[in-house]
C-alpha cells in the first residue's frame, strides 16, 4: 500500500479529535483487550473457586446457604456476561475495522476501549417505548426470554476441572432445550411487535433457528454417543487422550455451520439482514429491551464457541506444568486454556462475519434440511459404529 499515490495531505481530509489517525497504536489495543480478558478471568476464578471457598469456610454449604451461594454465583456470571458483551462488541468493531482497512472506534478510552460502555449508556438512556399496536406484556417479555435462554447455557459450561455450576448428567439435553428457547424468544418478539416487517423477520428467524437445531441436536447426540455420557464435564474428561475434532471431523464441521446459523451470524444472518428488513424481528425495540436482544446475541457469540471447545477441542485440557490437579492454581490455568481456545474460535467466527455475503432464506433452509440433516445422521451412525469397534 505504500506505492499508491496517496494524495497530498491537504487533499486527504479526516483530522478529527486532535490525534493523527495515520498512527494506530497496536500495543495499546492489545493492552486493552488483555485487560478485559484479565477481568474476565478474575470473575471466572471468583465465581467458581472464590465463592464456594468462601461459603465453605463460613459453613453455609447446604440448604438455604447453598441456594444463596448459587444465587451469588449467578449474579457474578451475569457480571461476566456483561464483560463478555463489552469485550465482544468492541472486538467485533475493531476486528471488522482491521479487515476493512480502518481503525474502528478510537475515541472513548485508550484506543477506543471504553466505547462499548458508552454504547450501553446510550441504550439505557433511550426511550424504551412500546408501539401502540403491540401486546405490551409479551413485547416486554420476549427480550427477557431470549436473554435468559442464552444466559442459562452458562450453567453447564465447565471452565476448568470441577468448575461447573451444575454438572448434571443431562447437560446436553438441557443445552438443546435452552437453545430452542432462544428461538422462542425471537418469535415472541416478532409476533408481539404489531408490525408486518417484524412478523416476517420473526418467521424467518424462527424457521431458520428451528431448522438448524436439528443438525445441532444430532451433533450433540453424536458427541454424547462417542463420549458415552450426557454431561459436559464427562465429555471433556473423555477427551483426555484425543480431542474430539479428529475422530468426529464431520460432525465438527456441521456443528460449526449450525452454530453460525443459531447465532444468526453471516452467512446465515438473514433474519437480521440489515440491508433488507432493517432489523427484522427487533425493529420495534429500542432502549434496554433492544439491549437485551443484543446482549443475548453477544453472549451466545461467546457461548457457542465455548461449546465448540468443550465438545471438540478438549475443553480446559492443557499442560499443567506440575501443578496439582484440583487445586486453585491448576483451575486458574485450565480456565485460561479454555478462554484461549474459545478466543480462537470467536476470532474465527468474527472472521467469517467480516468476509462472506449472506445466503438467501430458502437456500439456507434447503441446505439445512437436504444437506446437513442427512450428513448429521450419517455422522451419528458412523460415530456409534466407531465407538463400538474402537472402545
Amino acid at each position: 500500500m505504500s506505492q499508491i499515490p496517496i494524495p497530498e495531505d491537504r487533499h486527504f481530509r479526516p483530522r478529527l479529535l486532535g490525534y493523527d489517525p495515520q498512527k494506530s497504536r497496536p500495543w495499546l489495543e492489545r493492552t486493552v483487550y488483555s485487560a478485559y480478558v484479565f477481568v474476565f478471568w478474575l470473575i471466572v476464578i471468583g465465581t467458581y473457586a472464590g465463592v464456594p471457598a468462601l461459603f465453605g469456610a463460613l459453613g453455609w454449604d447446604s440448604g438455604w446457604g447453598f441456594v444463596l451461594m448459587r444465587t451469588l454465583q449467578v449474579v457474578l456470571l451475569f457480571l461476566l456476561s456483561a464483560v463478555i458483551a463489552l469485550l465482544l462488541i468492541l472486538l467485533l468493531r475493531k476486528y471488522l475495522g482491521k479487515v476493512q482497512e480502518r481503525y474502528g472506534p478510537m475515541h472513548y478510552g485508550p484506543a477506543g476501549g471504553i466505547q462499548t460502555v458508552f454504547d450501553a449508556l446510550k441504550l439505557l438512556a433511550k426511550e424504551d417505548f412500546v408501539p401502540a399496536a403491540a401486546d405490551v406484556l409479551t413485547f416486554r417479555l420476549a427480550p427477557a426470554i431470549t436473554f435468559v435462554a442464552s444466559f442459562a447455557m452458562f450453567a453447564v459450561i465447565p471452565f476448568a476441572s470441577g468448575w461447573v455450576l451444575a454438572d448434571t448428567n443431562v447437560g446436553l439435553i438441557y443445552l438443546i432445550a435452552v437453545s430452542t428457547l432462544s428461538a422462542y424468544g425471537v418469535l415472541l418478539g416478532g409476533v408481539s411487535s404489531g408490525n408486518k416487517w417484524a412478523l416476517i423477520g420473526a418467521l424467518r428467524a424462527g424457521a431458520q433457528m428451528v431448522s438448524y437445531e436439528i443438525p445441532l441436536a444430532l451433533v450433540f447426540l453424536t458427541v454424547a454417543v462417542w463420549s458415552g455420557t450426557l454431561s459436559l464435564g464427562g465429555i471433556v474428561d473423555a477427551q483426555l487422550g484425543l480431542w474430539n475434532f479428529l475422530p468426529l471431523a464431520l460432525p465438527f464441521v456441521l456443528y460449526v455451520i449450525a452454530s453460525l446459523a443459531e447465532l444468526k451470524h453471516i452467512p446465515f444472518d438473514f433474519p437480521e439482514a440489515e440491508s433488507e428488513l432493517i432489523a427484522g424481528y427487533n425493529v420495534e425495540y429500542s432502549g434496554m429491551s433492544f439491549a437485551f436482544f443484543f446482549l443475548a446475541e453477544f453472549v451466545e457469540l461467546f457461548l457457542l464457541p465455548a461449546l465448540i471447545v468443550v465438545f471438540f477441542f478438549g475443553g480446559w485440557h492443557g499442560p499443567l506444568f506440575g501443578l496439582e490437579p484440583g487445586s486453585l492454581a491448576a483451575g486458574a490455568l485450565e480456565s485460561l486454556y479454555f478462554t484461549a481456545k474459545t478466543a480462537v474460535w470467536v476470532w474465527i467466527f468474527l472472521w467469517i462475519r467480516a468476509t462472506l455475503p449472506r445466503y438467501r432464506d430458502d437456500q439456507l433452509m434447503e441446505f439445512a434440511w437436504k444437506a446437513m440433516i442427512p450428513l448429521a445422521l450419517f455422522g451419528l451412525v458412523l460415530a456409534a459404529y466407531l465407538r463400538l469397534i474402537w472402545r
Partner: protein, 156 residues
C-alpha cells in the same frame, strides 16, 4: 425444603394453567401453557428425574410453544373468546372427578425419591417400553407426512 419448592411450583402451575385457558389473546395463552409445562419440568426435577425434566423442558416448554407460535402467526388468529360457562362447569367437574379418583393415592407414598438416571430412562425406553416407543415414533412420522401432504395440497 423440597416441600416448599413443591408447593410453590404446584401453585404456579395452577395459576398459569388457568391463565392459559381463560386468556383472550392466543399468544398469551400459548405463553402461559409453555410456562405451565416448564414448571411441571421443575416438578419432575423434584421427583428425582432430571432426564425427564430436561426432555419435558425441551419438548413441551420450548419446541411445542414454537410450533404454536408458528400456527398463530400463519393463521393470523390472535384472539379467542374466553371459556364459555358450560366449559368452565365441565372443567370443574373434571377436576373434582380427578380429585376423587386420585384421593386414594394421596399421602401413601413413602417419601423416598429414587433418582432416575438417563441410562435407566434410556434402557427402559428401549427394552421395557419398546412397543409404545416405536408406535409413538411411527405416529410422529405419520403426522409429519400428513402435514406435508396437506401443505402441498393447499399450495398446489
Amino acid at each position: 425444603m423440597s416441600l416448599t419448592a413443591f408447593y410453590a411450583l404446584a401453585a404456579f402451575v395452577l395459576v398459569f394453567a388457568i391463565l392459559a385457558v381463560t386468556t383472550a389473546s392466543m399468544v398469551r395463552a400459548a405463553l402461559s401453557l409453555a410456562i405451565t409445562f416448564f414448571l411441571i419440568a421443575g416438578l419432575y426435577l423434584l421427583l428425582g428425574s432430571p432426564a425427564l425434566a430436561a426432555i419435558q423442558f425441551m419438548v413441551n416448554a420450548s419446541a411445542i410453544p414454537i410450533m404454536t407460535l408458528f400456527i398463530i402467526m400463519m393463521t393470523q388468529s390472535r384472539t379467542s373468546a374466553g371459556p364459555r360457562s358450560w366449559q368452565i362447569a365441565a372443567g370443574l367437574l373434571a377436576a373434582a372427578a380427578a380429585l376423587v379418583f386420585f384421593k386414594g393415592n394421596v399421602g401413601h407414598g413413602d417419601g423416598q425419591i429414587t433418582p432416575v438416571s438417563p441410562e435407566t430412562l434410556g434402557v427402559n425406553l428401549l427394552q421395557a417400553a419398546l412397543l409404545p416407543f416405536e408406535v409413538a415414533s411411527v405416529l410422529l412420522l405419520l403426522a409429519m407426512v400428513g402435514a406435508i401432504v396437506l401443505a402441498r395440497r393447499r399450495a398446489g
